[in-house]
Amino acid sequence: MKLQKATYFALYAVLELAADPARQLSAVEIAEKYGISAHHLAKVLRVLGRAGIVDSTRGVGGGYRFAGNAKRLTLLDVIRLFEPLGNERSGGSEQHPNNAAGRALKLVLNEIDEHAAATFRSITISTMLKIMAQRLASEPAKETRRARDANGPRAKRLGPP
């Protein structure tokens, strides 16, 4: 599944700011961390500000803070600010011919979209932060395993490809 660029930027910004709600970050700081356009991100942050998800402070030393409820705000809430999802996007009858093949295809695509929407609706920002923390914690262990496997007896026996 692919989301629009603005949606990804919004999700990065929300996760970055929600990780520490007391911290204020500028659009440039967030953009640099994720290697994305600060100009585009600033536009995205304005949309998030209008939705009450972030607070902004203008001027020197200004920036953005997370203002939402991480335990209530879902991925779907953020995504919907930037693009339609599920039936909102693919359910329009104009996209499928009104014949047996068109209706059957629409049925299957709707099924996929409904699953996607349910998944995004069920994952809160708080849950995302937990997943991120878990992955961060497991990465050093994986790295150690990878290094051990690469240098282990099997690798030595097989030699380089």
Binding site: A19, S122, T124
Partner: protein, 160 residues
């Protein structure tokens, strides 16, 4: 760094109700709690579940309740199932409920963790559940516990 660990700590359950196996006298409370949440009274269903999962405490079947301040704050039911469509033994949770006014206090988390402990003691390494995809509340709860989509897909058809 300190702030991050504080954020994670906030997600941990607060001290709360005691989790224990259901007793016969709990069934009335479970029926009332379920009726309060779903709007449907189903006494024979819960009585039957208690008899199959609670009273005899058969191996691999668990009916737990959360008791706090002299009343039942929530319950959870699960069992170990094996070899359905090739699935090795795994823990299945098929009912969980917390009193609406007692939510967001970690009771659901305590029930879930206690059930996972039961499954671990029974020797299984996976826990599964299935629920309506529009049930955002319970889906979010299980997600918050770390559950993700599994390798099985549920299908159905109308027999009319």
């Amino acid at each position: 760094m300190k702030r991050r660990s504080k954020t994670l700590k906030a997600a941990e359950p607060e001290p709360g109700p005691r989790i224990r196996p259901a007793a016969p006298e709990d069934v009335r409370s479970v029926i009332a709690l379920d009726e309060d949440v779903t709007g449907l009274a189903k006494p024979p269903y819960w009585q039957d579940l208690y008899e199959r999962y609670g009273s005899t405490r058969r191996e691999g079947r668990f009916f737990l309740v959360a008791e706090g301040e002299g009343r039942i704050e929530g319950f959870i039911i699960g069992e170990v199932r094996a070899w359905e469509f090739g699935s090795p033994p795994c823990g299945w949770i098929f009912a969980i409920q917390v009193r609406p006014k007692g939510r967001l206090k970690g009771t659901g988390t305590r029930l879930f963790e206690a059930m996972c402990d039961c499954f671990r003691r029974a020797g299984v390494e996976k826990v599964r559940t299935m629920l309506a995809r529009d049930n955002a509340l319970i889906l979010s709860f299980f997600r918050s516990q770390g559950m993700m989509a599994g390798p099985f897909i549920e299908l159905e058809m109308s027999l009319e």
